[in-house]
């Protein structure tokens, strides 16, 4: 028996209400699409956290390699002009 005998790993994304982005909630185990959806629902939405669910097999996630962090992320550190902080936010604009 392998170390993890609880089926394949899936990632769960929950949308709290319509229009909002899907946010990573965590992961679950499941052996097929239907079970993945049900387990995601039972694990992450039982207290009214969401109105929509995405699940996807974790194996399809392409993750960055920590060894590449300097190359990927450091160049953004010293470029303050990339942040649009000089604009006045219009009144009534939400979720920005």
């Amino acid at each position: 028996m392998s170390l993890d005998s609880q089926f394949d790993l899936w990632e769960v994304f929950i949308q709290s209400k319509s229009g909002q982005p899907y946010v990573h909630a965590g992961s679950i185990h499941a052996c097929d699409n239907k079970m993945a959806m049900q387990n995601a629902r039972d694990t992450y939405t039982r207290r009214g956290e969401g109105t929509s669910i995405w699940v996807m097999p974790s194996k399809y996630i392409v993750a960055s390699n920590p060894d590449d962090n300097e190359m990927l992320f450091d160049p953004a550190n010293d470029k303050v002009y990339r942040h649009p902080t000089f604009y006045v936010m219009p009144e009534g604009a939400k979720n920005i």
Binding site: Q6, Q38, R46
Partner: protein, 252 residues
């Protein structure tokens, strides 16, 4: 029997069904085959206990003796319980848990869909809320039945055994006594005759897809509508009612 008395008994029965099955499923808390399934089964249990609360509260109201839903749940003796025998059957292996859930959820889905049209407003409102929950219970049990029935040799064997073992408790779901017929005439209760035909048809389709064999109808257990139970109910109540019996009116 007056209509009032019949509604009391009817609400009590429905409440007992969800209370006892809810308790059975709660026994699986921390004992599910995997973490996610543990949550799924206890979620279903909590749905059932919520439904029980509404039904027993209504029963207590109709009875008019100043009791609460807790009095009805924790202070009634075994022979005053009217849950269907199938709800009190042990969890057994996972195949038994799922098969029991399948038989009951398919029945409850058809039953509460009809009860939505009840002329009794409270029963109708409870039914409307409950149908949404049961639809999910049914989906969960159906998927597992197909997955395990059409799974490995071992899972297939266990599912077929569970179907065969529990089949004799399904006849009772469709029995109509004077409470049912009296309330049916008043447009309050569900008609179990068409539900029976539909249930048999739905179960047959699921079992075929799960490559399982539908048992032949033979001897069917009966008795719960008269308060006669299998030995399992006494054990459940002993655990469930212990605190209230040992320390009446205990608060915490």
């Amino acid at each position: 029997m007056t209509t009032q008395e019949a509604i009391y008994k009817y609400a009590l029965r429905l409440g007992d069904n969800s209370l006892i099955l809810g308790h059975r499923l709660s026994e699986l808390c921390s004992r599910g085959p995997i973490l996610e399934e543990d949550l799924a089964l206890t979620n279903i249990s909590l749905d059932m206990i919520g439904r029980t609360q509404a039904l027993l509260k209504y029963a207590a109201e109709i009875e008019g003796k100043g009791k609460t839903e807790d009095d009805l749940a924790y202070r009634r003796p075994e022979n005053n319980y009217y849950n269907n025998l199938i709800t009190e059957q042990p969890n057994g292996d996972f195949a038994h848990t799922i098969t029991r859930q399948l038989f009951i959820s398919v029945f409850e889905y058809l039953f509460y869909s009809q009860l939505e049209k009840s002329k009794d407003e409270t029963l109708s409102a409870i039914a409307k809320k409950t149908v949404k929950e049961i639809k999910y219970h049914m989906q969960h049990a159906t998927d597992w039945t197909i997955r395990l029935g059409d799974g490995t040799e071992e899972s297939h064997k266990r599912m077929q055994k569970a179907v065969n073992d529990l089949w004799m408790y399904t006849g009772e779901l469709f029995e109509m006594d004077e409470v049912d017929t009296l309330l049916f005439r008043e447009g309050i209760s569900a008609d179990l005759i068409p539900i029976k035909a539909q249930w048999q048809n739905d179960i047959k389709i699921i079992l075929i897809e799960a490559t399982l064999t539908l048992p032949e109808d033979s001897f069917m257990q009966t008795g719960s509508k008269q308060g006669i139970h299998t030995e399992n109910l006494g054990h459940i109540l002993a655990e469930m009612q212990y605190l209230q019996r040992a320390y009446p009116d205990a608060k915490w």
